[in-house]
Amino acid sequence: MRTSIEDLRRAIEDPCRTVDVCSVLLDAWFEVAPRRLGEALSRFRDERLENQERVENFERTFKQLDAAARRRLLGSPWVSGFMDDPDGVSHEDTDGMPVTTIEALHLAAMAECPVAPIHDEMGKFHQGRGVESPLGEWVIRRHESGFEKVERAKVGGVITLDVDSGLARRNEPESGTFCNPYLSISSEELAVIQEKLEAAIRLVDEATPHLGLLIRTFTRRVLVRKSIELGDQASPLNLGSEYRPIHAGCIRILNVHRPEMTVDICAEAILHESVHSYLSAYEEVHGKFMSGAIRVRPVSPWSGNFIPNHSLAHAVFVYYAIHQLLGRLVGIGAGIGEESGRRMKRRLMHVAGGFFIERKISTLFVLESPASLQLMAVVDEIQEEIRAEYSQRMPGETPESAA
């Protein structure tokens, strides 16, 4: 069964459709993932002689994995990270040494082996690098007295909270979140972060349970970066979040330990990035919405910033989902407190405001080749639907005498 662009919209809007659309899409994603990994490995092997042994080592390990372990590996950022940059560096290990993307992929596969992490093959290879499950739920840490398996915290029951892996520490100059310095998070701060993110997902579940399901289906790990100490002053304080398809299923949020990062802001950030992950899964299966070329770019009607055409297409779905969430939260009150309630009303109006432009959103795109008619139709329907919600409240001009 194929997921259509209209299905993507329906899953956000109609709780009766979310389970079907999400599960069909995820199954399709897991169908294409091994083929695409195989193609990437094959290209990598053919590039250089020394790559052959690396690929064979990985494939030998992969063959030992059962179906569930393979699925965990395929759903991990190590696969998408390798496919994005087969010759690149994935992250730095605990000793600050670079780990290549093929090494990271192999390590993740070995971590899923039934006899790992004490498998002979791992021995020297893993020195200083730790052993971590592909999805990051557990990590083996080395102590003077031996090894200890540590389970990472989870939020929303299934999403791994990662504040300290190589991935969580990664430096990315082109990223909006991971270009910021990495500061270590204390156990007290970790407890605050976990509690806040947990409360944020509860908020989504209460208001829009179907979007809670969408989040859990397409987000497997939340990477929290602390870039500023609790007491330090910064203006403006960077409270950004991000999703990058190079790390499939991983969303990134900045500075959750800070009080300014409230539960409602966290809820919006989680949903925002998870919808990106959801849309990216669709694009992996069915092809990109449109070119990611950035030479000529439209302006976002929400932020006024230049964004790639492709990001504008994502933004329409993202803000559609956030409008659902905030609209419900504002409507039901949800015990969020007066200040949070006011903030959410303001955010709701901001999100809706982006849809209130005199043009159809489809006309904002500046493309070299025509966009999918189906996508453009859905984008305009979303805009129309949001506008219709406010049409009852839209005033005509009021003469002063009637005011």
């Binding site: 303001r346 432009i357 005199e358 005033p395 005011a403």
Partner: protein, 272 residues
């Protein structure tokens, strides 16, 4: 017979408002006057309440020159209540909805077709008029610098600054490092085409070139259609047989210098 005309402007120094300020049959209103009693509240839709002293927009031709809200009273109130500026443009749109015609689109820059960034203008115009050239450029993304290896004699420019091409920096604070934009300076002789409706006049700041200028009616038509500007100035450079389109600006900054400024602006007013 020309239909009643109202100029609504947000810039107190607006050139068109100044030229038409004393002309019979034309009312000139600053946006602050229009929005004085508009109800703005936190997280609410703006209600445009109109005073009796404001002329009726119904069936009028509106030269809506609201290109920026930042220095207006309504802009201040938006900031106070942290409301998206689209809500003010939406309220303005509802007030202007019964007009006979509007001179420009309604909305913030980049979103309104009347205020597109330069490289988007170039893309649209070169698709419409294949024979016209547009400047070579490079556009960075965020803090990332673009590849400029294909550019010759380039300057860093603001992507929003339509008529500053003399090489002086027009890059405002924040643009230097954020989405940096580099452009090859056009060569040849500059020509400015000021138009309103189908009426246009050409001016030659550095002398009149010898070449055929017959392309301008089509260029004016294209700019009206593509950029939703019934009134604007077009800057082109003529070199040998070719024309380079640089910008279409709704600001009309140079119209005040034209001898026939009032006639040009009135000739473009639609007839009833």
């Amino acid at each position: 017979m020309k239909i009643p005309t109202i100029v609504i402007h947000s810039d107190p120094e607006d050139v068109v408002a100044a030229v038409l300020g004393d002309v019979r049959g034309v009312s000139v209103i600053h946006l602050d006057e229009l929005t004085r009693n508009w109800r703005v509240q936190e997280a609410g839709i703006i209600e445009p309440v109109l005073e009796k002293s404001i002329p009726s927009m119904c069936s009028s031709y509106i030269i809506n020159r609201v290109f920026d809200l930042s220095c207006t009273e309504i802009g201040k109130r938006l900031r106070t209540f942290r409301l998206h500026e689209n809500w003010a443009y939406t309220a303005l749109g509802s007030v202007l909805s019964r007009a006979h015609a509007l001179a420009h689109g309604i909305g913030p820059r980049g979103v309104s077709r009347s205020l597109l960034p330069l490289n988007v203008q170039w893309k649209l115009i070169s698709e419409r008029i294949p024979d016209i050239r547009t400047p070579q450029f490079a556009f960075g993304f965020g803090h990332r610098m673009p590849d400029m290896s294909h550019l010759d004699k380039f300057v860093q420019k603001s992507v929003w600054s339509y008529f500053r091409w003399n090489g002086d920096s027009d890059v405002v604070e924040g643009e230097q490092q954020w989405h940096p934009f580099f452009v090859e300076q056009p060569q040849g002789t500059p020509i400015i085409c000021s138009y309103h409706g189908e009426a246009f006049t050409l001016s030659f700041p550095k002398g009149r070139p010898k070449a055929d200028l017959g392309v301008f009616p089509a260029l004016v038509y294209a700019c009206r259609e593509l950029f939703d500007n019934r009134m604007a100035e077009i800057l082109v450079y003529q070199e040998d047989e070719s024309l380079t389109f640089c910008a279409c600006s709704p600001y009309m900054a140079g119209v005040g210098e034209l001898r026939e400024r009032e006639q040009l602006l009135l000739r473009g007013v639609p007839s009833s």
